[in-house]
């Protein structure tokens, strides 16, 4: 049933949506517009003049090896973060769903990591994996494995993925647990009587019924991996070694604010904006269609 309110006053509806529009305008449309505008210019080395270059910034970027590699890095990073954060959270939620005694304490503890700021999460993991003083690096050394993420690009990637995923697991866990508890018990029991084993029930009944939650989390996690992991990467690797953990959003920062190339940075923001827009549209067009039953 559709519920509509008819306003007598012509201006009241506009007044009511104005605060939301204002916030969106100030914090999204304005900066996005600025980024698009600036992406067409390059400033001189002293920042006194700017010169119009049209699509020159974009041309340069796509001809740049480091920028193209950053795309690949972002893809690897966000797939790894999303898949590991979601699958681990689902596993925990399935286990927590079966716990009866002390489940609220259990749940609360699992939610805590979400309250940790990304930068702090990064520092926590950095302490544990510091090649010289970190306890886990030391343990790995005892096992004969040399850990040095400041030199090894693969290890650096593994570390930022682990730290980023760890932080997101709590959030995913909450939603998965709520999703699991919303599935009627009798449906699971009917499947048990129909002869399905636990795993069969999970894959044929529980997982499909969870798909709206899974889809929502997929969108949220990909956006998280693209943007909100900046703090983790900045504290742990600063994009290194040799740009092996420089994801697109980190490159926007390092080229713009460290390299002072504002034109290129703006162009990268525009590309990133377009990319996330396209990804989200694709997700809604092609995946969401299949999750509603």
């Amino acid at each position: 049933m559709e519920k509509r309110v008819v306003f007598d006053n012509r201006w009241l509806p506009y007044l009511l949506v104005a605060p939301q529009l204002l916030v969106t305008f100030v914090f999204f449309f304005w900066p996005a517009g600025q980024a698009i505008y600036q992406s067409a210019f390059i400033p001189d080395p002293f920042g006194l003049k700017t010169q119009f270059v049209g699509l020159g910034n974009f041309e340069y970027l796509f001809g740049n090896r480091y920028y193209r590699e950053s795309f690949l890095t972002t893809a690897v990073f966000s797939v790894l973060v999303t898949v590991s954060a979601m699958s681990f959270a689902l596993w925990l939620a399935v286990l927590a769903d079966r716990v009866i005694k002390g489940s609220s304490a259990y749940r609360t503890l699992l939610i805590w990591p979400y309250a940790v700021a990304p930068a702090i999460a990064g520092v926590l993991w950095l302490f544990m994996f510091n090649p010289f003083t970190g306890i886990i690096a030391w343990m790995l050394a005892q096992l004969g494995y040399t850990w040095n993420h400041t030199l090894d690009g693969g290890q650096a990637m593994a570390l930022v993925v682990a730290a980023s995923a760890w932080k997101q697991i709590s959030y995913n866990f909450l939603f998965f647990l709520a999703g699991l508890q919303a599935i009627p018990k009798s449906v699971i029991e009917a499947a048990a009587i129909d002869g399905a084993s636990f795993w069969r029930r999970f894959w044929t009944i529980v997982f499909p019924l969870l798909s709206p939650t899974t889809f929502f989390l997929l969108v949220v996690n990909i956006i998280y991996a693209f943007f909100d992991t900046f703090g983790v990467i900045h504290t742990i690797t600063k994009g290194g070694p040799e740009q092996s953990t420089t994801i697109l959003v980190y490159k926007v920062f390092s080229d713009g604010f460290v390299g002072q190339d504002l034109g290129s940075s703006a162009a990268q923001s525009v590309i990133l904006l377009g990319l996330v827009g396209v990804l989200t549209v694709v997700q809604f067009r092609f995946i969401e269609r299949r999750v509603h039953y």
Binding site: S186, V187, A190, A192, D194, G195, S197, P208, L209
Partner: protein, 340 residues
Amino acid sequence: MAEIKLESIRKSYGRTEVIHGIDAEISDGEFIVIVGPSGCGKSTLLRMVAGLESITSGDIHIGDRVVNRLEPRERDIAMVFQNYALYPHMSVFDNMAYGLKIANVPKAEIQARVAEAARMLELEPYLDRKPRQLSGGQRQRVAMGRAIVRKPAVFLFDEPLSNLDAKLRVQMRLEIKALQRKLGVTALYVTHDQVEAMTLADRMIVMNGGVAEQIGAPLDVYANPATLFVAGFIGSPPMNVLSHDIRPGRGALDPGAVIGVRPEHIDLVAPGAGLIDLDVAFCEPLGAETLVHGTTAAGDKLVVRIDGEVELPADGTRIGLSIDPARILVFDASGRRIET
């Protein structure tokens, strides 16, 4: 097809015992209805037979096996749930075929068995629909279909009609009965509705507070209730309960004992001409019959069921009640029936 035997079944949650030892023998092809008020343990008992609840003590036999420790899928049963428990993301066909697919039944046979069940239940036009596109009665049929296709030894029904409206409930009740007769499968049916129990059951188990108060054929239970609870629960309006003996030539009842009379076993006569007089409070004409409500001289409330075409006594008048003393039942202080 199989017989079921329950041997002193008990169930406790922690220290609270909710089922206090139930014994019953159900023969092959019999339709057994477990009836009782909510919270009496009837659903728990059914779920123990299904394997969805563990058994604290006692044994459940299905066929020649003790199934206490078997998983639900190993018990050769099918169950219809109160909310139907259909798989919402699957079509009607897939809902019915799910159990067969798991059992690795060949595709052609799955097709044939689902088609057969759909024909029997008049679900053929809906096989491609999802459960949310069906009405309550159709969902109910799909749930039945899912049970039928597997050809189980035992059907379990957990209040399957309570989510339907009154008219549909009557129709589905008849269909369930007809289907069970046709398939000849042993059925265990839980309900709180005594009309469903009376109409469906070959024999019924009347439960109260985790105890089987009486097991027997519906009319037998109706005519010879073993306890005061059964007398009050089976039959609508319930049996009248009077605190003093009205039979001629009898002394006072033992302390706490009561007598019971069915409303239809009372006839209206002139005041003073019957065993007892009644002050009429009001009448409820229902068409085929009329219920006369009133109070006896001793202050007991009483209902009389009379033919709908008899002239109604006016409110506030006094009438006499004629009762065949043989129809009067006596219950002791603990509620047990005493033969007198």
